[in-house]
Each structure stands twice: as C-alpha cells, then as structure tokens.
C-alpha cells in the first residue's frame, strides 16, 4: 500500500516536471535544482544578516530601537529618527525577511521532491536524516530571528515557548531557563537570542557538510534563470513590502498610505516588547510561527505530540519499507587490479580502496560498503577488467541482451 503510494507520487512528480520542462526547457527547469535552491537563498540570508548585525544592539532597552534605526522611515517629531534609518536599511532587512520566507519554501520544496520521488530511503538515509536536522535548524534560526527584534510578538514567542517547555517533565524548567539565559528576562536574554540566531546559522553550515558527505558531486548552484527569478522575487518583495517596525509616529505620518497599511499587515514588526504585557492578537507567519498557532489552538500537550510525532515520522521514513537488496555490487578479487576507476566513478562514495596483503600481485583492492551501494551499476561500467559486477545483472548477460536487441533491430 505504502509502496504503491510512493510509486504514485513518483510518477505524478515526474509528469509534473515534464510539464515544467515544456515551459522552461530541461536545462532551466528550477525543479531540477531543488537541492541547490536552499543553499542559494542561504547566501542572501548570510550577507544581509551580516549587514544587519553591524547595527544590532542585544540589550533589552536598545534591541528594538537599533532594529528600528536600521529600517525606520523618517518620523516627524522624533529627534532620534527625524531622517529615518540607514539608507537602504529597510531594503536589506526586507531581503533578510523575505529571504527567510523563501528559505523555508525552497527547503520544503526540496524535501517534498525528494520524498515524492522516493529518493529518501535505504542508502540515502544519511542525507535524509541530516536534512530533517537542517529543516529543524532552519525553523529554529528563523524563529530566533523574530526574537531579535524584541517587539510585542517576540515577547509573546518567548512566553509561549516557555509555556511549551514547562509542559515537559524533568527537563522543562532547565530548558526554559536555557532559553532566556537565566531565571528571568534580562540583557543576557537578548545576547542568548543572538547566539541562537548566529550559532544556529553556523550549525546549518556544518549540517550541510554532513548532508553532502556521501555525495560525490552535489549540485550547489541552480540554473541561471532560477537564480535570476528567485533574486528578482526577493528584491520585488523587499521593495514592495520592506520590513520595518510600525511605530505610532509612522502610522500618523503615513497612515493613509496603502503601502504602510500593507506592511503593517504582513512583514512589519510590532511596538517594543513590554515585559509582563502580552498583546491580545499576534500576526502569525505561516512558515515559521505555525508551532505557536498550534499552541494557541490545540494546547501544549497536543502541540508536543504533533510536532514531536512529525519529527519522529520524518526520521523513520528512510527505513521503511525495506527493499530486497539483491544487487549490491560485488568485487571479483582475482580480477581487481586496484586501478581505482570504480571508486572514482561511484556517485555515493560506496567503494573504498584497501591495501592488499603483502606479496599480492596488485597493491590495492576495491571494497564495496554495502549500506552505501545504490545498485546503480556505474562501477560495472567503469571497470576495464570486469572485476566488479551486480549479482543479478551480470555485465556479460546485459551485453548479450543488448547485442540481441541490436541484431533484432538490424
């Protein structure tokens, strides 16, 4: 049943990609670069984030105003912000904000494409599991970014997260204290949030390395049309709805301007956080704040069950259903000269070269690591000595079949 489902999703995905191929040609089809897309968007986030970091002050009384200084529009009557913030500051912040949304969208696109084409199971378990870790870290880093603004919404997130942690037995209290850097909210809290945000981003790099470790040639750059389109969309979003803090003065001056109203509805941050005062309504961002939507709508226990359950399901996905692994490549010891061709050609780093015993005719021998072998047969084609074979698809048989077909055709 589940196998049938995977087969169905695979054929549907491939059919959909054929339609996109017709529209964009095969070489520019963005769906063929789904893995490179999150990495590409990540660069925007890194560069815009570095610029924002220059001005960020992680203290309770300055965090909001420092973010506001980066991106504020001129506010009449405000001696600090008469001229507005840094030129293009709202745009850079907008790129960071919209880049974060794009990051989650392309990460999910990548995940669903891999899952629907059944490329997550068996020997691919490591990229999948590290991918689940990457998804969680993207969520974590995105959420911690919301905290840095230290507006009313950030305070709501902190309180709700502590509420979520308090629902956990034994470690709940410790996690809660770890989140805010002590027993209560102090200046250390903002320093901790900055650490979460930047440290999380660095951890993403480490996980990406693990994600790639078993792939010989991972695609890390999307096709040019996709690059342009994604960059264009992020710039259009940042220019149309730049990320700003909505202040009373701003609303007074531009209140009738539909652009300000649109910003207030989408990406604008709220008024500064006031500890002890929770706002009544929170604007949820669909890509990062869904856990908090859950907490408000189904309660803490169900939120844990849903979030934890989905993570567990994602983690066991590559191990079920188990395939019959009858065609793992086998090295014929007597024929192997240790030339390394198979090892170099294997796309999954499944063949390693090992020293032979002293006195042997050849120095090295290829060894197949069964758990990594995809049974693709590339090594069979790479070997000039017929020293590596798939047990149920012998190269001699394949050759004979092909010759028979050729003769039939002639």
């Amino acid at each position: 049943m589940y196998r049938k489902f995977l087969r169905l999703t695979k054929s549907l995905t491939v059919s959909f990609e054929k339609v996109v191929n017709f529209l964009t040609t095969q070489e520019q089809n963005p769906l063929y670069f789904h893995g490179a897309l999150p990495l590409y968007v990540f660069w925007f986030l890194i560069f815009s984030g570095i610029l924002l970091w220059m001005y960020y002050i992680p203290t309770l009384d300055r965090a909001w105003s420092s973010v506001n200084y980066i991106s504020a529009l001129p506010t009449p009557g405000d001696p600090i912000n008469l001229a507005g913030g840094i030129p293009y500051g709202a745009v850079v912040r907008g790129i960071h904000r919209w880049g974060a949304a794009a990051m989650m969208i392309v990460t999910l696109l990548h995940m669903f494409r891999v899952y629907f084409t059944d490329r997550h199971r068996s020997w691919r378990w490591l990229p999948w599991i590290t991918g689940v870790g990457l998804l969680l870290f993207v969520l974590f880093v995105g959420l911690s970014g919301y905290l840095l603004v230290w507006d009313a919404r950030a305070y709501f997130i902190v309180v709700a997260t502590q509420h979520l942690f308090d629902g956990l037995p034994v470690i709940g209290g410790a996690l809660s204290a770890f989140l805010v850097g002590g027993e209560g909210i102090t200046d250390y809290t903002l320093t901790r949030f900055l650490f979460f945000h930047v440290g999380g981003a660095v951890t993403i790099f480490f996980l990406v390395w693990m994600h790639f470790i078993r792939l010989k040639e991972p695609v890390v750059t999307p096709a040019r049309a996709t690059n342009f389109l994604l960059l264009g969309f992020i710039l259009l979003a940042a220019g149309t709805l730049p990320a700003i803090n909505i202040t009373h003065e701003l609303l007074l001056k531009y209140g009738s301007d539909p652009r300000i109203a649109a910003q207030a509805a989408y990406v604008a941050s709220d008024a500064p956080a006031q500890i002890g005062t929770l706002v009544e309504t929170i604007r949820y961002d669909a890509w990062y704040m869904f856990p908090y939507w859950l907490i408000q709508n189904v309660g803490v226990t169900w939120s844990w069950l849903i979030l934890g359950g989905s993570t567990v399901l994602l983690c066991v996905a590559p191990f079920y259903p188990k395939d019959r692994r009858a065609n793992i490549a086998e090295v014929i010891e007597a024929k192997c000269t240790g030339c390394t061709f198979c090892s170099l050609d294997c796309p999954f780093e499944a063949i390693t070269m090992v020293e032979r015993a002293p006195g042997s005719k050849f120095k090295q021998i290829a060894v197949v690591q069964a758990a990594r072998c995809s049974e693709c047969g590339i090594c069979v084609g790479a070997c000039p000595f017929q020293a590596i074979e798939l047990p149920e698809l012998h190269s001699k048989t394949l050759e004979a079949d092909l010759m028979a077909l050729v003769k039939k055709g002639a």
Binding site: T25, Q28, F47, M54, I80, A83, Y88, A225, L236, R259
Partner: protein, 97 residues
C-alpha cells in the same frame, strides 16, 4: 599524462554572465556596506542628534529606495525570462528514432 603525449583538453568557455552577475552582486553589496559605514560616522541610535546634522539629512525619501529595488527585481525577472527564451532557441531534439 607525460609531457610528450598529445593533450586532448579544450579550454573551458569564459562564464561571462557569471562574472557580470558576481561583479554586480559584489557592487551592490559594497554599495550597501559603504552606505552603512558612512552612516556609522553619523548619528548612532539612541543619541540626540545635533540640530545642524538633522537639517542635512531630512530630505531623504525612503520610498524612492524601494522603487529602485523594485526595478532591480523586475530586471532580474526579465533576465530570467530571457534566459529561458535563449534556452528554448538553443534547444536540441533528443528524440531517438
């Protein structure tokens, strides 16, 4: 490969678009960085700005910045469509008879 043997390598094509893309990106990044650094010389957040400095910088119109970024965005969308168009024109049939 020994030096006496004939070489069969062909020089790779210079990635002109890639270079333009990179240089433009670095240019924009540098421009933002420069602006940021220059602003740093100006008023830091939370500090009272002297009146004469305030007068110099009050005529900024932020929405114009957003318009420039939107034009850039549209330019990239058009460039993407041009890329797809070019790929279409260069497309070769791979159907086997």
């Amino acid at each position: 490969m020994t030096s006496g043997e004939p070489r069969s390598t062909t020089p790779s094509k210079r990635p002109i678009f890639g270079v333009i893309f990179l240089v433009t990106g670095l240019g924009i990044f540098g421009y933002f960085l420069l602006h940021s650094l220059l602003t740093e010389v100006g008023p830091p957040p939370g500090v009272q700005v002297p009146a004469e400095l305030r007068m110099e910088t009050t005529n900024r119109e932020p929405f114009k910045e957003f318009d420039v970024v939107k034009w850039l965005g549209w330019a990239f969308v058009v460039a993407a469509l041009a890329e797809v168009g070019a790929a279409y024109l260069r497309k070769q049939s791979t159907t086997l008879e």
